[in-house]
Symmetry: C2
DNA sequence: TTGAAAGCGCTAACAA
DNA sequence: TTGTTAGCGCTTTCAA
């Protein structure tokens, strides 16, 4: 076997301590992790550590013989490079951080899954952070993320001006914000216009002959903007107020059902309900069916997000489709380009959306 | 401002190179990442770097004055510690890796979300890896994970003997396998018995008077074991064969609907269908409703996993509930204990399951 | 193409 | 309690 943990120092550099103690073998103990290192591999291959490093990282800069010997040694030892050491030495961590509000919300997870796949293929790994907690925790999350020195950061949503935004800016790490549009992103942006969605949905429903609107929505800054744009169009057409039911942070099917009960109590003659998520819409639909309100003849219902299984339900929910995979792929491209030092010319991409008309409108 | 990038070396250590070149200022250039370092903070605070380190990591080992000075300096500089450097020096990365088959399957994500939260509170971060691809990629994923030297690894499922298992074993990293039971885990285990589930579900349905069974399932080693145990009980009771429809890796609602069509074509008199996931069950239910087959009077349907919104649908799906949060919390406890060097006495935890009877049975 | 030297930014070990 | 020294495992820089 290899001798590991064997003490090594460069010959010409004698420390104060050592020279003072007459160069006897009274050196301090050191603490290796115990794992095989590049030095072990190099020694086994009979080359310098740096050659082993080159064989693994830039094989074309090394002779075929050296390459073979190193590869053999790696195989025999089961060597796995320590990426913390590599990252520290090269200032490239090959790590990308993604911050999502919640992992159980599949709208975002399609994006994360795509992002993860694309990054992995390019030799990067994903670190996951979960936001949506207190401001303190938010701050801690950002610190933890920056502390890892990722080569890029993916954010769901747009970071509002504040401490977090300044820190990110100061860190100099490439950032992709997403799921929204702004003329002033921190760095790069892949999103779509929520105001446009609000307007288009309003026009769509009005075009279907709907006149009395309600909105069932969670507390969410983006849902706000859709709601405002929606209400604007409705008002402009002289169709009065839109009843808004806010379910807070409870984006469940049950909340949708409960909200629907409130809608009916307040506005029995409602003929279209727009929801800020598919799950809420499913709740509204469930309650409507439970009350034998016929959809869509008496009532139109629209969701948001296009959760995969919606299309095959009966009735199939009409919704606004966001292509999460597009966002993930484009974000990966941005992040990888920047990590590899390539110039990114376009920094803002609008992936758009589409209204998917199915059985409930 | 601070002077950064200023060259520094310990006074007593003169290199060969330096002494040969007459100690003029012809030193090599070096490459800092450009970020604020602990040395910058220490200098600003007027203490040694190690004191600054102690102030941040073990504040109780440092005088109040030093602590205050360091904290001030951190605040003024916006210093964020480099965790790669810290991890390298201490052989503790404060990183935990989780490997999941898919992030869009919310059954697993409840566990990941809980795990992530518990780890974050304890000062650890989550790295996400996605399995379920080719064997090559699986191998690459494991290498990538081990290369980061995480303080622990969470695996959904049990790793079969093979290269991956050996590597993990050799790495010495604490591992939690999950979602299953085995007497021979790699290290620690938090799961439940799939055979027990198969048996209990069979007994439950037979107790309900059901006699003609079908199973709609994905290709999945754990679903296999549930199916085998289920079929055993059915056979033992003399109720003949269980029709098995395998949808492969397509765990969608649509697959459930299509599978239901095949079930009806082959066994029109089926009176109970057991599915390997809630989404498949929802598909079966959807198709049943589309064909006006009354549930549960003519047909019982059971899911698996207990996706959150199921309970509030009409009809509400009966299912097998797995407490993903329990798994996540227990796994976090295991992983943190081991990472902090505490002895873990029990290494296997059975979190169990429960049959949730709702409207479809 | 290969290698020696130096150092990335931090903490463990030891000494005072 | 504070500081000095050395080194974690790798890659960059420079020289041959």
């Amino acid at each position: 076997m290899l001798e590991r943990n064997e003490w090594h120092r460069s010959s010409a550099c004698l420390t104060h301590y050592e020279s003072m103690t007459d160069n006897t073998n009274t050196k301090r103990s050191r603490r290796t992790s115990g794992a095989i290192t590049l030095r072990d591999v190099a020694k086994l291959a009979g080359v310098a550590p740096i050659s082993a490093s080159r064989a693994l990282n830039t094989p074309h800069h090394v002779s075929p013989e050296v390459l073979q010997k190193v590869l053999d040694a790696v195989e025999r030892t089961g060597y796995v490079p320590n990426r913390m050491a590599g990252g520290l030495a090269s200032s490239r961590s090959r790590l990308i951080a993604a911050v999502v509000p919640s992992t159980v919300m599949s709208v975002f997870m399609e994006t994360v899954e795509t992002l993860n796949g694309a990054l992995f293929d390019a030799g990067y790994q994903l670190m996951l952070g979960q936001s949506g907690y207190s401001l303190d925790r938010e701050e801690a999350l950002l610190e933890a993320v920056i502390g890892r020195r990722p080569d890029g950061i993916f954010l769901t949503g747009i970071l509002q001006p504040g401490r977090g935004r300044s820190r990110l800016l100061a860190s100099g790490i490439p950032v992709v914000e997403s799921w929204d549009l702004t003329p002033t992103p921190i760095d790069m942006l892949v999103g779509f216009s929520h105001a446009d969605i609000g307007r288009e949905v309003a026009n769509f429903l009005i075009g279907k002959g709907r006149r009395k609107f309600a909105m069932v929505r969670a507390s969410d800054e983006r849902a706000d903007r859709r709601a405002v744009a929606f209400a604007e169009i409705v008002a402009k057409r002289g169709l009065g107020q839109v009843l808004e039911i806010n379910v807070g942070s409870s984006r469940t099917l049950r909340s949708g059902r409960e909200a629907m009960q409130r809608v009916l109590a307040e506005t029995p003659d409602v003929d279209a309900i727009v929801c800020s998520s598919d799950l809420l819409a499913l709740g509204v639909l469930t309650e409507a069916k439970a009350r034998s309100i016929s959809v869509p003849s008496r009532l139109s219902i629209m969701g948001f997000g296009d959760v995969p299984f919606l299309a095959d339900m009966v009735p199939a929910l009409s919704t606004v489709r966001i292509n999460g995979a597009d966002i993930g792929n484009q974000a990966a491209r941005f992040l990888i380009d920047r990590a590899e030092g390539r110039a990114v010319t376009t920094r803002i991409v609008d992936v758009g959306f589409s209204i998917v008309e199915r059985d409930t409108t």
